[in-house]
């Protein structure tokens, strides 16, 4: 549904005469299948929004080829516009008009006739549970209500792909869960959804596949499960207090440890293939070397582990 190859964009920043080029997106390749929820994950400033804006025809790419829903982004931007929907970060509802007015206008912007626009608005109000407040001014809406109007506007022309830029940023947990359900419902109806997020749990819970972007480059891609497996089967965290460096040395060359690092709280994280066989060996090794430990935790790797390994930084630190 979306094929991206070698997508590039740079901006010139600075004052006249002293400009310098900043590569915001440097050669992104992506492939998104029909009916997928695809997550584009990365810290702020990684190039997520720039990529998204290029895919939605808002920004002209410097290079690369993009095909979306059978249309070439550069040669047929008009066709792309008809086939994709876009919901900007933070939303665009206007205070002084009602949700219903917003939806009718957006439908009309896509060239839909008046009667048809009213009809589609009616359907969208029901589908997104907006009917109760559709005739109140947007000024009175909650953040979650506004976001649902935004998404309803994004699909009013029945696109095949919906782009959501950080759809749940700034929402309370309940609205967030509600929005996830909306996205799942759209997917079940056959829509391809491409969303950016810097929430790992969101990518994990909602997305069929994800790509991790950092410094304008895709550093990893796959299903959340694949990515986590790629990192390691399991993660064992040993609370070794002050003996961190010694413990690190101890496990550095053990064949059952794929990778290890020390976290900021003095815990040693060991990435192992299979915790059931590794745990006894870890305990025996600690015992033999007389390293005291107060906790021993086993957990499945999270996307944060993936991010940490791929980029060398924790996303949560942001």
């Amino acid at each position: 549904m979306i094929e991206v190859s070698g997508l590039r964009k740079s901006f010139s920043v600075g004052k006249r005469g002293k400009t310098r080029e900043v590569d915001a997106v440097r050669g992104v390749d992506l492939s998104v299948g029909e009916g997928e929820v695809f997550g584009f994950l990365g810290p702020n400033g990684a190039g997520k929004t720039t990529t998204l804006r290029m895919l939605c025809t808002l920004l002209e790419p410097d290079g690369g080829t993009v095909t979306i829903a059978g249309a070439d982004l550069r040669r047929e931007p008009g066709l792309v516009r008809r086939r994709v929907g876009y919901v900007a970060q933070g939303g665009t509802t206007t205070d002084e008009v009602t949700g219903r007015e917003e939806l009718v206008l957006q439908a009309r912007m896509y060239g839909i006739g008046k009667a048809e626009a009213v009809e589609r608005t009616e359907q969208a109000l029901v589908a997104f549970e907006l009917a109760d407040f559709a005739d109140r001014l947007c000024r009175t809406y909650s953040g979650g209500q506004r976001r649902r109007v935004d998404i309803a506007m994004g699909i009013i022309h029945r696109p095949r792909v919906l782009f959501l830029d950080e759809p749940t940023t700034g929402l309370d947990p309940q609205s967030r869960a509600h929005l996830w359900d909306e996205v799942r419902r759209l997917r079940d109806e056959g829509m391809t959804v491409f969303l950016t997020t810097h929430y790992l749990d969101e990518a994990d819970a909602l997305c069929d596949r994800i790509a991790i972007i950092d410094h304008g480059e895709v550093v990893a891609g796959g299903t959340p499960a694949q990515l986590k497996h790629e990192v390691a089967g399991d993660v064992v965290t040993v609370g070794v207090n002050g003996s961190g460096p010694r413990a690190r040395e101890l496990f550095g060359d053990r064949p059952y440890v794929r990778k290890l690092d020390l976290d900021e709280r003095g815990g040693l994280r060991l990435y192992v293939d299979d915790a059931t066989t590794a745990m006894p060996q870890i305990m025996r090794a600690l015992d033999a070397d007389d390293i005291a430990f107060d906790t021993l935790e086993l957990h499945r790797p999270s996307l944060d582990d993936v991010f940490l390994i791929k980029t060398g930084r924790s996303l949560r630190d942001k």
Binding site: G78, V84, E96, Y110
Partner: protein
């Protein structure tokens, strides 16, 4: 056809927003009405050298100038509204649709022009009890000229906003352009009172001609050549400005 439909769509939306925020309309009135009530009464004596000896005559000279200032200055500030809308993402939401790009600009400009003309009518009506009297036919022609001036000012302002997309930098530049442009067209007092060198400069200012044209229509001399000269000039300027603004918009905003 699509272009006309889309322009109408954008226009309707912008007019809806104007009607939903009446406070903005009222603010637009305050200054012209203040001038009308507190400054214009001085003019009977001040304009005596031009032959205006009654309040009615003074208002026929002053009101058209006031309306020119209204449409020019308010029109020149339309670019700020555009920048705000660009920033808020409202325009971006339209840009992901296949809506006509010139329509996004023109629908907005026409809505500004409509608002300004509404204000112009109210100011004219308020001036009536002060003794303003003017032929309705010539008044309508004068309104047409003012509307074209408003369109020109809006379009210029949009184009400048595209060139200088920072409100902080745009403000001084717009002031620097609009102040001499309006003063050099004799909007406060007709330049018939001015020394020759000032008139010499003003004659290079196209707004001088359109202001004089509007004033000639108000004072009941539609046969004055400055009427058709001013009309031609303002038509040409409005067309050029609109062309420039839509081009800049299409290029900068896509």
């Amino acid at each position: 056809m699509k272009f006309l439909r889309d322009t109408w769509l954008v226009y309707q939306r912008q007019m809806l927003l104007v009607l939903r925020t009446p406070a903005r309309l009222v603010i637009g009135f305050v200054q012209p009405i203040t001038y009308l009530v507190l400054f214009a009464p001085l003019l009977k004596t001040a304009l005596a050298p031009t032959g205006a000896t009654t309040y009615a005559e003074a208002y026929r000279v002053y009101v058209p100038g006031l309306l020119v200032v209204l449409v020019l200055l308010s029109g020149f500030f339309a670019g700020f509204g555009l920048l705000a809308e660009l920033r808020s993402g409202v325009i971006e939401r339209s840009r992901v649709t296949p809506v006509s790009r010139p329509a996004l600009i023109l629908g907005r400009a026409f809505s500004e022009v409509t608002t300004l003309m509404g204000q112009a009518v109210v100011i004219t009506v308020i001036a009536l009890p002060f003794g303003l009297s003017v032929n309705v036919g010539w008044l309508l022609l004068a309104y047409l000229m003012l509307a074209l001036m408003a369109l020109m000012a809006c379009a210029l302002s949009y184009a400048m906003a595209m060139l200088i997309p920072s409100p902080a930098a745009l403000g001084p530049i717009i002031n620097a352009v609009s102040q001499p442009l309006s003063l050099l067209s004799g909007v406060l007092l007709p330049l018939t009172l001015a020394p020759a060198w000032l008139v010499g400069i003003a004659e290079w200012n196209p707004i001088y001609w359109t202001t004089n044209g509007t004033r000639a229509l108000f004072t009941g001399s539609p046969g004055d050549p400055v009427v058709w000269q001013g009309m031609l000039i303002v038509i040409a300027l409005a067309a050029l400005s609109v062309f420039w603004a839509t081009r800049m918009f299409a290029r900068q905003i896509r």
